[in-house]
């Protein structure tokens, strides 16, 4: 904990330009393993630091980076699954199993989204990668194939 606070202080004192990632990393280290009153105090310090450095407007990006750091630390991957219809539980289990193996993740969290214009199939966005198995994409690919062939 001492290390985390020292890092935050170093960041505060010496760094002139701070990236969102640097700040998120420092916040993570200061609040790691803390609970209750200790955590509340630590977070209060973070907010006052952001306020002092006029970084509150960046809080959304910092939170995004913090989320990523926490997920990476815990070995959690977020899979954004878009489909035309609601997914069956069995399908979800299969997706989780597949990605746990692919990314050697401890856990995979599915964020579901219904998009009717996909027509059928699923589109999965995970770890900056896109796996598009939708009917819409297949039709688009077919269109591309036919236009290049008969141009």
């Amino acid at each position: 904990m001492v290390l985390g606070e020292a890092l935050l202080r170093t960041v505060l004192n010496f760094m002139t330009t701070l990236s969102n990632n640097d700040i998120a990393q420092a916040i993570y280290l200061t609040s790691k393993d803390k609970t209750g009153h200790e955590l509340a105090l630590s977070l209060k310090n973070v907010v006052s630091f952001l306020h002092r450095r006029r970084l509150l407007n960046k809080s959304e990006e910092i939170l995004f980076s913090l989320n990523k750091i926490i997920n990476d630390e815990k070995g959690v991957k977020i899979a954004k699954v878009s489909s035309a219809n609601k997914l069956h539980e069995q399908n979800k289990k299969e997706i989780i199993h597949l990605f746990k193996k692919r990314y050697l993740a401890k856990d995979v969290i599915i964020e579901e989204k219904i998009e009717e214009n996909l027509l059928g199939g699923v589109k999965i966005e995970i770890n900056n990668e896109l796996i598009d198995l939708t009917l819409k994409n297949r039709i688009y690919k077919l269109q591309e194939y036919l236009t290049t062939k008969y141009e």
Partner: protein, 507 residues
Amino acid sequence: MNNHIVENLKKEIENFKATLKVEKVGNVMEVFDGIAKISGLSDIKSSEMVTFSKGEVGVVLNLEEDAVGVIILSDYSHIKEGDVVKATGRILEVPVSDKIIGRVVNAIGAPIDGKGAIKGNNPSTSSGLSAYPIEKVAPGVITRQSVSEPVTTGIKVIDAIIPIGRGQRELIIGDRQTGKTAIAIDTILNQKGQNLICIYVSIGQKDSKLRKLQVRLEEGGAMDYTVIVSAGASESAALSYIAPYTGVSIAEYFMDQGKDVLIIYDDLSKHAVSYREISLLLRRPPGREAFPGDVFYLHSRLLERACRRNKEYGGGSITALPIIETQAGDVTAYIPTNVISITDGQIFLETDLFYKGIRPAVNVGLSVSRVGSSAQIKAMKKVAGTLKLDLAQYRELEAFAQFGSDLDEATKRQLERGKRAVEVLKQPQYAPVKIENQIVVLYALTKGYMDTIPVDKIKEYEQGLLDYSESRAKKFFKEITETKMWSDAGEAELKKVIEEYTKSFAK
């Protein structure tokens, strides 16, 4: 008939197998002025091509900690925050084939002349076009050969005093309206039958100017061996930035076939300005004249790709004629000094000379060609050897002679010779002179045959001499075309012809 089409389509659809691909993606964070900031896209390379949701193409220029800066090469009005961006894993490429000759293409190689798609015959791609990456490391020293073959421009002052060789980079520099583009166009027009493919890259120019140029080239029959790459003034800075690299990639396609190519960048000042615009939008720190720190590298990596390859590596060459526009003759500005130091010499054009009627307005004292003389043909070297010195002495004496009229005979002679030399080197636009004709005229000048001709009659004399000698000095002309040098007999024949003509002209 309809049934047949439906059957065919059915078969195609049945046989079609969509391949599953895991794609690297990111999301648009912000879009402004042709620039997009994108989150995600891990593992992306610099200069890699990305595609946006509606097929728009972008190129990665900035790799930051949690974002990627991309320049958009097409209409960006439909791109919005949150859109998915796909990485392609490929550096931006330009489609090329032999059929690109005679066409006008935009900065990404797509035809814009309304003559339909460019076809190709490469069996490994579905369109038949080969793809050449726009960024490539310049050929290394081992693959190169020194410049030894000339590019004849048809412009007397250049071919005689500032000769250009195949594989050379010769800068054309001067203020606005001094005839920079005219030199480039004349050079292209003179390449008919010279086995040189020409590529004209127009950067940030008015479409009307480009159209005029295209018509001029068509009229001169030059579009049979010319490609025009255009990034117009109305298009985004990103396209102006890409255009010269596209041009040189097309040139490399032909060089790889062992062909000689001439590429003209018109002009690199506007190219630097568009790169400055992109860099500032990408929040790169500005330096001198607000240009980014890597503006030298911008031009050096482009011009280094001009080269002459040796036989073991397939031969071929790329000769580059970059153009730079100066402001009020200031060659010490940032971009002019950079490009002067990169190139193998410069042709310096001056406004004063232009308005004095000396056209092309080449300042012979400041213009140099560092490697071109070894590419000059022997006969030209012989006649033009003393010309530069004569002109330099003339300029010095001209200033001196203004103060007094008591000049000795030798000085007077030199002044008279100088006046005639200046007159001979004048040349109208779109009137390239064949190299053998240039040699005849310069021979007559340097051997003193013109000394008795009044200065205002020099042009008339010159034209007459060329017409007269063409049918009478056949041996001389034959020798020049075949051996690039005259024999004693050939010289005697020419001398006789010139003497005869000078006598008849005096009458």
